[in-house]
Symmetry: C2
Subunit: 212 residues, 2 copies
């Protein structure tokens, strides 16, 4: 299996993290999502939506959308419960992640690290940060009475939510007000086979540091 | 089962459409999402994310996120394939819908119909419409060689994508350039048990008409 992904992207890292924890073999092909590489004719022929991550099987079939990839990889493993209601709740959190969390927390981080310091997009940051904190508050409330987002055990909803929550600070969204989220992040980091997301490159890190 | 939903919301209508097609009994409780009704303490206690649709079982358990609800309802029925790869592709389209389609096509419609004609949010419409057309182009490309989004048969990915595509015009996004999308909409309307989404009320329809 080949994973096409941009290493500092949380959506891409989700796939890497689960594959590592499953002990699956895979080939990683680096495809930057900030320089047009996901919009070339060759890439668009495989994913008309022009995004990574994308997995490609040896017979050429492709699957896109990070959380759909996680769900497919986890089927039949301990990372997705058997119980239909728990499975539904896990999927619910994964849709929450893509609709109410990632568009704020990941986009704030992208703007801080991967756009110029004078980009007009930086005007979006106050609203993105406010909505990102609203998403974290929803997670905090859940974690006050649950250890995980995937039913009784760590699983793919945790993988999905971990990716960008762990680096929310890159977008200027601190976790001080969210102690249960911080404790959950630490539990995720302690799961067997955990691998951290590669750090942004020095250009991106300098921009993040200068974004306040 | 009780469905808490706002009738002219595509996300809510998805649940109604599938329940009707499955022949399931349910109670519909109207909850407007444009007047704060999903942000009351009573509602937030059930769904901290403050959104409809929400289904509530007779024992009080709740499930949120429209596409997670569809997936749970469809499990074991003909509206979700058995084949793991087809299931994964269906789920991929459902994440596409929530990330790359709904935030543009549904939000453009919401701004046109449910915000005042002088709302500053109307400045967002050109970008929303452009990105909505990009999502429709991705669908058009798929439909040039496939009849459905849920594997070989009509199913929940079609339900998910139908909801807002069918009313894209309310947000000023025409379908003239997308003949395969138009033909697919007609195929969906011809499926057994199909029910159309209730029309917006007269205030919303007048605003839509005046939004050009």
């Amino acid at each position: 299996m080949t994973v096409h992904g941009f290493s500092p992207s949380g959506n891409c890292h989700k796939v890497r993290l689960l594959l590592e924890q499953l002990g699956r073999e895979y080939r990683w092909v680096e495809v930057r999502s900030d320089d047009g590489s996901t919009r070339t004719p060759g890439f668009i022929a495989k994913n008309p939506n022009g995004k990574v991550p994308m997995i490609e099987l040896d017979d050429g079939r492709v699957l896109v959308e990070s959380n759909a990839i996680l769900h497919w990889l986890a089927e039949g493993t301990g990372y997705l419960p058997d119980d239909p209601w728990q499975r539904a709740q896990a999927l619910s959190w994964m849709f929450f992640e893509q609709y109410s969390h990632e568009p704020y927390i990941a986009v704030a981080r992208f703007i801080c690290g991967w756009t110029p310091l004078d980009s007009p997009r930086r005007a979006e940051l106050p609203v993105l940060r406010e909505r990102g904190r609203m998403a974290l508050a929803v997670m905090e409330r859940h974690l006050q009475s649950h250890d995980w987002f995937t039913g009784a055990r760590y699983g793919i909803a945790d993988v999905a939510l971990f990716a960008y929550t762990d680096v929310a600070g890159h977008g200027g969204i601190g976790l001080d007000q969210f102690p249960c989220v911080q404790a959950w992040l630490e539990r995720v980091r302690s799961t067997p086979g955990f691998v951290p997301m590669p750090a942004p490159d020095t250009v991106a890190m300098r921009r993040i540091d200068e974004s306040g």
